[in-house]
């Protein structure tokens, strides 16, 4: 009786109300409105004009949409695969007892992650600039090249450069997450395996890796969502141009460009939803393949 009278469960609604209010205004409404706009033609001034599926039909035939998607995937893949593998190796190494200066290395590897991506993009652009960049000058001073190379002219190099920035920025972050996962693995299992004479490599593939699978899945899925949103680094690296030859134009850059510099808000919204569909498909694929593997591993 007494305990019932002091329960005040309806207060819960009051506690969660502010969040939902703000979410509906600034989270849900923008998405729903963007969805509506994706079926309209709107320049931001007059009234949006409903045009049905016209924007989506335009996407299907839009060379730049595919190109930007292709760029995004290429840049993402070239950064995320080395990122997730090297950071795993580093995590395992830095989890070893014999390594000296662990916390120093963790801090140094993690540091680029908290530096503003916009600053990094600009900095790398400066270092790789043609006539005055320190990279060319370094190569010249040690005699590898005799004339400065115009890196900004080379589509694949610039894509690689964006991937490198992303790799450089995120490998320390994924390393920390792996280390957190490793710390969750009971030491007894590893010690037992060691006593049984299993080599480090065997322990890694047969014990560590399977036990880390949930963490790896977490990393893969978050990196897909994050990877599809690549914007800051290529934008500042190329001064918003996505050059050379639109090789570094990512999907979000194309979306930004379409809506906010060419004022095609309707089409820009459609690009956002097109991109979202791609993200969902990739997330589902990675989720099911990882799950399949888990099941096979258990069987």
């Amino acid at each position: 009786m007494f305990s019932k009278s002091i329960r005040k469960d309806h207060y819960g609604y009051l506690f969660i109300a502010p969040f939902f209010l703000i979410f509906f205004i600034f989270g849900l409404y923008p998405i729903v409105y963007s969805l509506y706009l994706s079926f309209t033609d709107w320049d931001g001034f007059g009234q949006p004009v409903l045009v049905g599926f016209q924007n989506y039909q335009r996407i299907i035939g839009d060379f730049f949409f595919y190109k930007s998607l292709f760029n995004t995937l290429l840049i993402w893949g070239a950064s995320v695969i080395p990122q997730l593998t090297i950071s795993l190796i580093l995590a395992v190494i830095l989890h070893e007892k014999f390594v000296k200066g662990k916390s120093f290395f963790r801090a140094v590897f993690f540091f680029p992650n908290i530096v503003t991506a916009a600053s990094l993009g600009l900095l790398v652009g400066l270092i790789f600039s043609w006539q005055t960049g320190s990279f060319n000058q370094f190569l010249m001073s040690i005699g590898i090249i005799s004339d400065p190379i115009n890196w900004a002219d080379k589509p694949n190099f610039m894509r690689g450069l964006v991937s490198s920035i992303l790799f450089w920025q995120y490998f320390g972050y994924s390393m920390i997450i792996y280390i957190a996962g490793l710390q969750g693995i009971s030491k007894d299992i590893l010690e037992a395996a060691e006593i049984d004479g299993a080599s480090k490599v065997k322990v890694f593939f047969n014990i560590t890796l399977p036990l880390l699978r949930p963490i790896i899945l977490f990393q893969v899925v978050t990196s897909i969502i994050g990877g599809m949103q690549i914007f800051d680094q290529p934008y500042t690296l190329t001064d918003g141009s996505g050059n050379p030859d639109n090789a570094t134009l990512t999907s979000v850059m194309y979306l930004y460009d379409t809506a906010f510099t060419r004022y095609q808000y309707g089409y820009g919204s459609a690009i956002a939803f097109g991109l979202f569909i791609v993200i969902v498909i990739f997330s589902i694929i990675s989720f099911t393949t990882m799950n399949l593997k888990t099941k096979q591993g258990k069987a």
């Binding site: 819960g12 916390s103 590897f109 600053s119 652009g125 400066l126």
Partner: protein
């Protein structure tokens, strides 16, 4: 007999030597990677102290004497300290909102068994999977309707609905705050909100500190948000100002390097002091997330 024991000793010696060698390689690998992480920042600081003529002529690895000169030319077009202040205001207020309303919401979900509790909580979690860019155009529109375009509020207010914060704090409450505390506060006649503000909130401090670091860094580094929602240079946070350097000082590289350096240095300093704490909170967030 003797022979085998000698062999054994030899084998052990070889093994120990190999082990030492592999340890050496591991350390070399780590040091090489550390150098790769540091070099760009070193170049940035060194090049910021040189004149354009120096920079154009050869590879430099020692500091120069043009620091003041570069700083003065940067100040002509750009108020980088104003950018700092803007970043601090936006990131500071965003973080405060994220923490308070995140905790409030998490507490509501954790300690009140109202109808639809589970369903609504799943809804909050699901919003984490939706990429921000999806609503970019709509965000611009709602800020226009609410007359919030080109204001700090446009960047701060949405921080009150941070799903990750709710998830993170709820985990913490579930694990550390017993119902008895709340019940005894009720018996003593405290109102529900007073209980939350005076008793629960202080108990959440460790979780909020970790979460606060995340929220602050995220807001401090936000680029596309202010790019779309702010138009006045005076209101620009640091990332946007830094991006403007290219336009203002296209060929004055020393000034550009210095501008980037000034935008990064405070982060280096803060990180040098709090690195353990920052890394720790990322690790906590990852395990819980």
């Amino acid at each position: 007999m003797l022979q085998t024991s000698v062999d054994n000793v030899r084998e052990k010696a070889v093994k120990a030597k190999n082990k030492k060698l592999s340890h050496l390689f591991v350390h070399l690998f780590l040091i090489l990677l550390a150098i790769i992480c540091i070099v760009p920042f070193y170049i940035m600081i060194i090049y910021g102290t040189h004149t354009n003529a120096d920079i154009a002529s050869e590879f430099i690895f020692l500091p120069g004497q043009a620091l003041l000169e570069n700083y003065q030319s940067m100040r002509e077009n750009m108020n980088i300290w104003r950018g700092f202040l803007n970043s601090l205001i936006i990131a500071g207020c965003s973080t405060a909102l994220t923490l308070y309303f995140g905790a409030l919401n998490a507490y509501g979900f954790a300690k009140y068994k109202f109808k639809g509790n589970k369903l609504l909580f799943w809804f909050v979690l699901a919003t984490m999977m939706v990429p921000q860019q999806l609503g970019l155009v709509g965000t611009f529109r709602i800020m226009y309707i609410l007359n919030l375009l080109d204001t700090y509020a446009a960047l701060i207010l949405p921080a009150a609905a941070n799903a990750f914060a709710v998830f993170f704090v709820k985990q913490f409450i579930d694990g550390t705050i017993p119902d008895e505390i709340i019940e005894s506060a009720r018996v003593d006649g405290a109102s529900e909100f007073k209980t939350f503000n005076k008793i629960i909130l202080p108990m959440l401090a460790p979780a909020l500190a970790a979460l606060g670091i995340f929220a602050f860094i995220g807001s401090w580094n936000n680029f596309i948000g202010p790019l779309v929602l702010l138009f006045t240079n005076d209101k620009y946070p640091l990332p946007l100002l830094v991006q403007l350097l290219q336009g203002y000082y296209g060929t004055n590289y020393g000034v550009q390097y210095l501008g980037v350096a000034l935008s990064v240095l405070p982060i280096i300093i803060v990180f040098a002091i709090f690195s353990k704490r920052i890394i720790g909170s990322v690790a906590i967030g990852a395990v819980k997330g």
